[in-house]
């Protein structure tokens, strides 16, 4: 077993374990901070999938942006959220959770079936990519190529998403402003 594989299993364990804690924990703050750990584990998995730029973006945007936003929303929505969270029953599989648990478990079975039936490692285009040496190399960075592609092949989506980000910004600011006096 090589070092890369061991690292992969460690990262996968961290990711899935902390995601499970997010699901099980009754304490909302603890859930949010375990979500933090999940995101870091996922960034590690991205590095192991040879996508270092995506991993850095994940850390900057998710951990730096989204998580801070979630914490803000949690603090601004007051103590009632905490009280409501305490009131939930303390067991993982309680009566209210059985439908959710069943749904998730059955979905897991279906998707595992799909993954094993799909025979991913022998997909035609994957084989072709390996044959034509179109695989990201382990020892070089692809960031240069990402930048060039972003400004040529993916220029239109890049511009569209910038407009969409501005719309989201304006929309969020508009939604969260104080209402006018007559409202």
């Amino acid at each position: 077993m090589s070092l890369v594989q061991i690292l992969f299993y460690v990262m996968a364990f961290i990711t899935l374990g902390s995601a499970l804690v997010v699901a099980i924990s009754k304490n909302l703050v603890r859930s949010i901070f375990m979500f933090f750990v999940t995101l870091f584990g996922l960034a590690g998995l991205y590095v192991l999938a040879l996508a270092d730029f995506v991993a850095v973006t994940q850390i900057v945007i998710y951990v730096g942006g989204i998580l801070v936003l979630i914490l803000f929303a949690f603090m601004l929505s007051g103590k009632e959220a905490l009280v409501a969270a305490e009131k939930q029953s303390s067991r993982f599989i309680s009566l209210g959770n059985i439908p959710a648990f069943l749904l998730a478990a059955l979905f897991l079975v279906v998707m595992l079936n799909v993954v094993f039936k799909a025979d991913i490692n022998n997909l035609p285009w994957v084989k072709q990519a390996i044959a034509t040496k179109n695989v990201v190399p382990v020892n070089g960075t692809g960031i240069n190529n990402i930048g060039v592609n972003l400004m040529t092949r993916y220029l239109l989506p890049f511009e569209v998403i910038s407009v969409l980000l501005m719309i989201a910004l304006v929309g969020a600011a508009h939604l969260s402003r104080k209402e006018a006096a007559e409202a």
């Binding site: 996968a12 990711t15 899935l16 995601a19 997010v22 699901a23 909302l28 979500f35 999940t38 998995l45 991205y46 999938a49 040879l50 996508a51 995506v54 973006t57 945007i61 998710y62 942006g65 989204i66 936003l69 979630i70 929303a73 949690f74 601004l76 929505s77 009632e80 959220a81 409501a84 969270a85 209210g96 439908p99 959710a100 998730a104 478990a105 979905f107 897991l108 595992l112 991913i120 490692n121 285009w125 994957v126 990519a129 390996i130 179109n134 695989v135 990201v136 692809g142 190529n145 592609n149 092949r153 989506p157 998403i161 969409l164 980000l165 989201a168 910004l169 969020a172 939604l175 969260s176």
Partner: protein
Amino acid sequence: MINLNDFMLVSVVLFCIGLFIIVSKKNAIMILIGIELMLNAAILNLVAFGKYDRINNGGQMFALFAIVLAAATTAVALAIILNVYRRYKTINPDKINQLKD
């Protein structure tokens, strides 16, 4: 090297945990976290397959756009949650049952 199946398995389990959180939790913020987990499971797949596209970087590019879209979605969703809290004094989605006051 790690093969694609391993990444797929991790992402399938992550997706199902996200689904469980969305259906079982009684708190809008937790539901948002569940949605983020499912999104991240999808992004993990994109990145894992993106390894086999060195020239066009299709998978990694799509993953980057998905991350940015997730950020935009979260900002708007949290603004909505704050508004809902201001009006109903709760963020339990089961108790929010009026479109109009």
